[in-house]
Amino acid sequence: DQQVKQNSPSLSVQEGRISILNCDYTNSMFDYFLWYKKYPAEGPTFLISISSIKDKNEDGRFTVFLNKSAKHLSLHIVPSQPGDSAVYFCAASAKALGAAGNKLTFGGGTRVLVKP
């Protein structure tokens, strides 16, 4: 059972425009959410996170929105740049897991292509 889903496997956007990546989750215990960016043959790098007590977190060109009632989060990249072309993963964890509280469950990823 996939607890974290990214239903769009790919996204193509023009340079300078907004990229919107979506992620849905099913486990209501999740209360910490993250986005990672991954280039080929490299490990994922942390981009931005949000706690369930917030509905928005912004860091430069990246903004994450959380809709707890819909169990949905999104990542907005504005403006998109060619260097943003990568695979993006959303991830979630639950404090109720205790000592392994930041044991992350990942979505399947969305491949973003930013066209110059």
Partner: protein, 113 residues
């Protein structure tokens, strides 16, 4: 600053051969350590995690095992590789506690032939 090292970067092994992948973390103490696997075209699946020396938790039944002989060393092993063990293996660390992101190494591409 903290760094994570993972090697080798690529590995081609025949079916039935043993496996040992090593991961070390520098610049921190008592980190949480993790092994993830990314199968082709799939997301990241947690295989093992460790909150301390000698403490290993397995997430999925499989042909692999993990060990943590030292505080900042995490090893992924297999006695006999299967074709299905092919994939991209990632080691990660976090400072422990809650609401802290994981930081990943650059991964090992394992091909079992």
């Amino acid at each position: 600053s903290q760094t994570i090292h993972q090697w080798p970067a690529t590995l081609v092994q025949p079916v039935g051969s043993p496996l040992s992948l090593e991961c070390t973390v520098e610049g921190t103490s008592n980190p949480n350590l993790y092994w993830y696997r990314q199968a082709a075209g799939r997301g990241l699946q947690l295989l093992f995690y460790s909150v301390g020396i000698g403490q290993i938790s397995s997430e999925v039944p499989q042909n692999l095992s993990a060990s943590r002989p030292q505080d900042r060393q995490f090893i992924l092993s297999s006695k006999k590789l299967l074709l299905s063990d092919s994939g991209f293996y990632l080691c990660a660390w976090s400072p422990g506690g809650y609401n802290s992101p994981l930081h990943f190494g650059n991964g090992t591409r394992l091909t079992v032939t």
